[in-house]
């Protein structure tokens, strides 16, 4: 992987395209988990890779490419959410327009059940997200939804590992009290 990064840094486009293949799914999901709109998540994913392509020549440590790419994605999501908040001040009527409806009427029962579970799951994730502070939410999602380790999270957020652990500890303490989500997870596990 490091070789690919070095080649891409040296202007090798096929190498960069291979990197896209490797990370497209991870970046898309990271964005989707935070904005919950497929179309916008696709647009932002495209934008993240375009930005990465433009500035990969400046990357100093190819080993840290993954966290560098995730940092671009996290920053891009934050920009998007900030702009969305500003827009919502002026326009509140289209709130929720992006939410995909639960079309259970014309679906087969197993698909309908899956759709209901999916809606429930994201509703519960949304509920716990609202109880976390911005940093707690970020470290919690990076750790347990995006499956990054503490060191990578520290690099992405440009914080020390102990700071990341502190926020993660607080987030976990709140997660433990969130009975709805935990019950959902336990029932799905059994």
């Amino acid at each position: 992987m490091t070789d690919l990064v070095i080649q891409a840094r040296d202007g090798n486009r096929p190498a960069f395209e291979q990197l896209i293949e490797c990370y497209q799914g991870d970046i898309y999901r990271l964005i989707y988990y935070r904005i919950r709109t497929r179309m916008d998540a696709e647009d932002l994913t495209q934008d993240v890779f375009v930005r990465a392509f433009r500035s990969i020549a400046r990357i100093r440590e190819p080993l840290k490419f993954r966290s560098w790419l995730f940092r671009i994605a996290v920053n891009r999501v934050n920009d998007y959410l900030r702009k969305k908040r500003v827009r919502s001040i002026f326009k509140s009527s289209d709130e929720g327009a992006d939410v995909q409806p639960v079309a259970t009427d014309f679906q087969d029962p197993p698909e309908a059940l899956e759709q209901v579970l999916k809606e429930d799951f994201w509703r519960l994730v949304e509920r716990i997200s609202k109880k976390l502070s911005k940093m707690e939410r970020e470290v919690f999602m990076l750790r347990f939804l995006d499956n990054l380790n503490i060191n990578e999270i520290a690099q992405i957020l440009k914080k020390s590992e102990s700071t990341v652990k502190t926020h993660l500890y607080r987030a976990l303490a709140k997660f433990k009290k969130e009975r709805g989500l935990r019950q959902f997870l336990q029932e799905d596990l059994t």
């Binding site: 497209q24 999901r29 995006d146 499956n147 997660f175």
Partner: protein
């Protein structure tokens, strides 16, 4: 396999959370306890399983991307095209400003000449009124009372009223001699 002594206290909630985040942050004794106590281990594993499953469900319930990423198709958003657009926009803005400023200055100049002409007309009218007042300071009503309305009578009428002396009109004689004759 619980080889842990029943008298020894189990790890508390906060230590379990610490262990989930990074068990190397626990003290040596706590790490040893965790390694030996099945109850604390299961407590930790339950929480870890829930969190792992949270990630798995998130991945399962996220719709997959339909579009392929293509950085080559993004020429429209390249910095060069953005720069060109900015330059073009600046040029158009400059032209608009120049045209607007020219129009504004011209309209102000025209307004100035118009005002000057109006001032001159008013001044002319005022001077005419002043001249009339110099000629006849009294209003017409008072002029009628004092009988000086026909001050513009011609010299023939004066000659009729006061005949000339030796053919010299009286008024002219007055002017020449500089003395009163009647």
């Amino acid at each position: 396999m619980n080889i842990h002594s029943p008298d020894e206290p189990h790890l508390g909630e906060d230590h379990i959370l610490q262990a989930v985040i990074d068990d190397s942050d626990l003290s040596t004794l706590q790490q040893q306890h965790l390694a030996e106590c099945s109850r604390c281990q299961s407590h930790r594993e339950r929480l870890e399983n829930e969190l792992t499953h949270l990630g798995q469900l998130a991945e399962r319930y996220a719709p997959g991307p339909l579009r392929r990423i293509n950085v080559a198709d993004d020429k429209a958003r390249s910095p060069l095209s953005i720069r060109r657009f900015a330059v073009s926009a600046a040029a158009v803005a400059a032209v608009i400003i120049v045209v607007w400023a020219t129009f504004l200055v011209r309209s102000q100049q025209q307004g100035g000449i118009g005002n000057l002409a109006q001032d001159m007309v008013e001044a002319e009218r005022l001077m005419t009124e002043v001249n009339v007042l110099v000629e006849n300071a009294l209003p017409q009503v008072y002029l009628d009372i004092v009988g000086e309305t026909n001050l513009n009578t011609d010299e023939d009428f004066i000659d009729f009223l006061i005949p000339t002396y030796e053919g010299v009109p009286r008024i002219s004689a007055l002017a020449k001699k500089g003395s009163i004759l009647c």
